[in-house]
């Protein structure tokens, strides 16, 4: 299984390798999301309120994934998982803030827009589609293969 820990501290994003011990309050993200050489980015960050999460297979989550696959390409998208099966949010990154006007995950939980500097977020080509199911626990969509 593959993921990287995402720690959100205020308006700051920090990534910790998935092999390391889980930082307090961390969420699992697609490991390709982090790029130490990445350009600055605008981020639409959707986080479930404290103590709240949804099964990843909840129809609201599936619906958001379908809308993303059908919509315009994004610089980067990763769902955020609380554990192997619980959806706790999503991160969409763009080069320009206008590209974040429509975030399908914002229909599930509230979204906020952040500006992050270089060396944090990468670029990931969109998933092949039309797959929306994950490859089992601990592989945040759109991580695109087993293992």
């Amino acid at each position: 299984m593959s993921w990287i820990w995402l720690v959100v501290e205020g308006d700051e994003l920090r990534f910790v390798p998935g092999e390391e011990r889980e930082p307090k309050g961390a969420l699992r993200a697609d490991p390709r999301a982090h790029d130490p050489a990445g350009d600055p980015a605008w981020v639409s960050l959707v986080l479930a309120p404290d103590g709240v999460s949804l099964p990843f297979d909840d129809t609201s989550v599936s619906g958001a994934l379908r809308r993303l696959l059908a919509g315009p390409p994004r610089r980067l998208v990763t769902t955020l998982l609380r554990d192997e099966v619980r959806f706790a949010g999503a991160l969409l990154a763009a080069d320009e803030p206008e590209e974040l006007a429509e975030n399908p995950f914002a229909r599930i939980f509230r979204a906020r827009v952040l500006q992050v500097g270089s060396g944090i977020l990468g670029r990931v080509a969109p998933p092949t589609g039309p797959g929306i199911a994950r490859y089992g626990g601990g592989a945040p969509w759109p991580w695109d293969r087993f293992g």
Binding site: R66, P72, P126, T128, G129, P130, G131, R145
Partner: protein
């Protein structure tokens, strides 16, 4: 069509831009899963429109079945993007306006001298791009039905998924 593009043959690992302009490699798009791949004439062909409506209905099953879909034409990425959006398709389209692979695969439709499109051809593929079945769709009835695609994907999945038979209870 090239004579080895039949069951047991292997499709080359084509590298083309997708509908969003990203350079993509077919093996990466397969990502370890079975693939439904189709070469199509273009957005303007009524047979393609009918066939794609079939595929769009099919994607609701494919999206939960660890399977990929890829469509290739000579249309430019922005044309494919518009066609894809109009259909409501949620899979990747690859664009080959230079016809880079048409000669290599011997898939030029010689009877259309206006568009010089790909001959409509569908493949069901193993993740390593081995061909499970090939369908010559020059005539519409040569294209796979959804039942045929389901059968092919079941056969491929049964072969590649080591846990096709559910694991027994742990002792």
């Amino acid at each position: 069509m090239r004579s080895d593009l039949v069951s047991g043959g292997r499709l080359p690992d084509v590298e083309l831009r997708d509908h969003a302009g990203n350079q993509r490699r077919l093996s990466d798009l397969a990502g370890g899963d079975p693939v439904c791949l189709n070469f199509y004439r273009g957005w303007w062909c009524p047979k393609e429109q009918a066939f794609f409506r079939r595929l769009v209905a099919f994607q609701d099953e494919v999206e939960v079945a660890y399977t990929r879909m890829v469509s290739i034409s000579v249309d430019a990425p922005e044309v494919e993007a518009a066609f894809r959006a109009g259909l409501g398709a949620r899979w990747t389209f690859l664009s080959d306006p230079d016809r880079s692979y048409q000669a290599e695969l011997e898939l030029l439709e010689t009877t259309d001298t206006v568009h010089a499109p790909y001959v409509p051809t569908a493949f069901t593929l193993f993740p390593d791009l081995r061909i499970h079945r090939a369908y010559n769709g020059y005539w519409f009835w040569g294209r796979p039905t959804l039942e045929e695609l389901r059968r092919d994907l079941r056969e491929i999945s049964r072969e590649i998924r080591r846990d096709w038979e559910p694991p027994p209870p742990r002792r």
